[in-house]
Symmetry: C2
Subunit: 201 residues, 2 copies
């Protein structure tokens, strides 16, 4: 947790430090990110940084929470999902939220990706939050199995794994090519495949 001295700062100065953190943590993984770069970008002296934060982790945690709050605000604006929606509709709804968020705050995209590709212990712990999201997807599949919409022999966790990993794959690709359309088209094909399979019986 940042120290009191940080919270006593003017909003402008807090903002400047936050922005510098986003900039650095969007460019480098947590382990490689440099406090030196951050203080340079924020225009604060070395000593001040340690007056405000315990260390790099402390700053990251602050930034992470701050972004989380912003995300909540954006998500709240997307229309709620019909509770009767099936798994595929729920997935599309989630994609819509993700795209909305990505459109409103594109500066956080790279940051999220870097977090996803980071396997340091510290970042691994933080990821717990993201995982809840996928646990919910798994539940939806189970419900659809009970409703007779999805084959009872389906392993919901494996399906969620598939969707998660291919999504990450295409998001990475999106950063290389910059084409959202390509990404959406491909993810559509993926969902078609998961629905119906590719083999002719």
């Amino acid at each position: 947790m940042p120290k009191d001295t940080f919270y006593n700062l003017s909003d402008e100065k807090k903002r400047k430090i936050f922005d510098a953190a986003v900039q650095e943590f969007s460019a480098r993984r947590f382990g490689e990110a440099s406090i030196n770069q951050i203080i340079k970008a924020a225009g604060i002296p070395r000593g001040s940084f340690y007056q405000y934060f315990e260390d790099k982790e402390d700053l990251y945690l602050y930034m992470f929470a701050e972004i989380g709050a912003e995300k909540q605000a954006v998500i709240g604006q997307v229309e709620a999902l019909n509770p009767e929606a099936d798994f595929f509709e729920a997935y599309q709804h989630n994609m819509k939220i993700l795209l909305e968020w990505s459109k409103k705050k594109p500066e956080y995209n790279q940051l999220g990706l870097l977090m996803e590709m980071d396997d340091s212990e510290f970042i691994n712990k933080l990821r717990g939050v993201t995982n809840q999201y996928f646990a919910r997807m798994s539940e939806l599949i189970e419900r659809d199995k009970r409703r007779g919409l999805i084959k009872p022999e389906t392993n919901s966790e494996v399906v969620v794994d598939m969707i998660y990993s291919i999504n990450m794959h295409y998001i990475k690709e999106y950063y290389r090519t910059g084409s959202v359309e390509d990404m959406l088209r491909k993810i559509n094909e993926v969902m078609k495949t998961i629905k119906d399979g590719i083999i002719i019986r």
Copy 2:
């Protein structure tokens, strides 16, 4: 390319340096790997390293080529694939090769994974080799489409992307849990899903 002085070394010394390189590049991504650690493990002085190699890339390239040769030797021992085999059989065959390789040289597993998770420019270039493997999978799907085994509307590249990304995902998981059986079981479920889909029509 390593310098002549390196190739003039005794096999034992060459081996020691190779082993030290494997050790370090298995523990850290290319960018974070330290020449210091390597020379310490190999028991050679700093100056000698630069007498043998241009730099870290030079050593990595040597190690990579060396391992590639070992891999060829192992692959040659697996029985050849029936040329009439369909995509799914070919995939299983590839898995068999991969497992054979992984069983014979488990010390390289972590190295390969780290290479996969590395997005430095240098490693990206090297990955070109791996990609050929997936290009061949795509061709097999196209052939099966022509043979009437796979739905003509299937996007073969997307299917290969799915298989690639979920494989990487489970290989990472395998490093955490250490269970090959779990991995194989899950990959089996994945292939079933890709074949037949999960929805009830």
